[in-house]
């Protein structure tokens, strides 16, 4: 098959002729038609994920008050926001805890409430300057009366992730959910064969500038995500076994929908945020089609014992997502039940919506302006200097 360019695919989308399927549907299509026929017929494969992503947050600009204030400490509904930038700019992280409600309410809830159109209490302090005399402000904001509000998530859409279990005698409360004692359960978090970066394992089409569906709005890949680790061990199909690539995403909060952004509280761990992401993959050639045809039985991850408090946790077993999805995994001769942490149902909903938007000509593809790295070195944080010395 000849190479299809981004422009050619976009022309087909504009003229309503593009053939678009989801990364779930492509699996059966390839089984029926084979790679080369499917590659000729299909133009775009949509991928999606809806899981808790801690490394998320929002930049916001409040507009100037009269008299103006150079905010240097900001709280939104009692949740601290970072204000060490310009006068009325701030960044609120999803995992930041409320100073009055603790783990019940946090940055993710502020973001969800703002998207839902609710009023949010803004309190800010300042040391006062000649040009910004006000020293304190207390008011209410909502998405209509603020200037820009955009989500900027330093690390989303993890390409694969560990599965977790617990060998200890006590319950562990983690970001991978509640892990029951003595290998009482195994949890995993991915949309597997539907997941964006698992369908483009070498980042051929997803790069800086790629237009994405984020939280119901159209957003973009801004950069490689933090902890982007393309050097992870990979299978013969190029798919990494365990956490690898990540994306930094950006999107307009004012265009988002609460159905696709949800604040989450993990017992005794803290706050996170479910982020709904959809990414279209153009079928440029047979190789891309082959990548998108990957299925759960061909994607593997490692099960780690989360009761080991060290960085180097031992791998207990390497399993496929088809096995994890089956509901049981055999571990040390015992059948252990498995549970997902990310919603496949919502991911499928997003992949379907994105497919429909492309078919309707409402969502065009973008060619990356630059690729995200395909190789790297992962650094670790070593402890140097006098222990626990802060200054």
């Amino acid at each position: 098959m000849a190479y299809k360019s981004f422009d050619e695919i976009n022309e087909k989308i504009k003229s309503g002729k593009a053939v678009v399927v989801t990364a779930d549907e492509i699996v059966d299509i390839v089984e029926e038609k084979g790679i080369s026929k499917a590659a000729k017929e299909i133009d775009v494969v949509t991928t999606a994920t809806f899981g808790p992503m801690c490394s998320s947050g929002m930049f916001i600009n409040f507009g100037h008050s009269d008299p103006p204030i150079r905010m240097n400490k900001v709280w939104l509904n009692d949740v601290p926001a970072y204000a060490g930038i310009a006068a009325v700019d701030a960044y609120i992280g999803a995992t930041e805890l409320s100073e009055t409600k603790g783990m019940e309410y946090g940055g993710a809830h502020v973001i969800e409430d703002l998207i839902a159109g609710k009023d949010i209490k803004l309190y800010a302090e300042s040391y006062g300057t000649d040009c910004y005399p006000r020293k304190e402000i207390s008011t209410y904001i909502n998405k209509e009366n603020i200037n820009q509000a955009y989500m900027f998530n330093p690390r989303n859409a993890y390409q694969n992730y560990n599965a977790a279990t617990n060998s200890s005698d006590r319950i562990l409360y983690t970001y991978m959910g509640t892990l029951l004692p003595q290998y009482g359960n195994i949890t995993y978090s991915t949309s597997g064969q539907l997941s964006p970066l698992l369908n483009d394992p070498t980042y051929r089409t997803i790069g800086i500038g790629t237009r994405v569906f984020i939280g119901g709005a159209q957003g973009y890949v801004a950069w490689e995500g933090t902890q982007h680790n393309p050097g992870q061990t990979r299978g013969e199909n190029g798919v990494p076994v365990g956490s690898a690539g990540t994306l930094a995403l950006i999107g307009d909060i004012k265009m988002m929908d609460k159905r696709f952004i949800r604040a989450a509280v993990y017992e005794k761990y803290g706050i996170s945020m479910f982020v709904g992401i959809g990414i279209p993959i153009p079928i440029l050639d047979e190789e891309m089609l082959k990548f998108t045809a990957v299925k759960d039985s061909e994607i593997f991850t490692n099960i780690y014992d989360y009761s080991v408090p060290n960085r180097a946790r031992p791998v207990l077993k390497t399993v496929s997502y088809a096995e994890l999805r089956s509901g049981n995994i055999e571990l040390n001769g015992k059948s252990v039940s498995t549970a997902p942490m990310s919603s496949l149902k919502k991911a499928r909903e997003i992949a379907d919506i994105l497919k429909q938007q492309i078919i309707n000509g409402e969502f065009l593809l973008t060619q990356p302006v630059s690729a995200i790295p395909a190789a790297n070195k992962m650094n670790r944080l070593d402890v140097r200097g006098v222990e626990n010395e802060k200054d």
Binding site: F50, G51, P52, T178, L179, L180, F274, A339
Partner: protein, 135 residues
Amino acid sequence: MKKIKVSLFYPAGDVSKPITYHLVKDFDLVINILHADISLNKMGKLVLDIEGEEENIEKGLKFIDEIGIKYKMFTKSIIWQEDDCVHCGACTAVCPSNALKMDKTEWNLTFEQEKCLVCELCVKSCPLNVMCVSL
């Protein structure tokens, strides 16, 4: 006819069989064992659905009491606020009775109230506060 849910607590050793046998045989009750937690040298716990004539249920409970076994009626129940659920599956990781399960085709959560032991583990493990206890 009436149906109740009870937890029985008894000292070490498995006495579940004779109890259920008597409840069925002597009091004409229909018994459904929802959960049995019997570890040697520890307290045993048995969760039962008991169905029968009101009078017979009362007699059955009296019998349990007389043989020195403590019981507790279920007064609370768990409510799944389905509209708010994102079907992530986190609650299924902790549910001991399989009352909460993922449907393997649609991947939505299913909740079978009858199987629920009201252990409340799901209430805390749901990141969206979708499972709650009704009194």
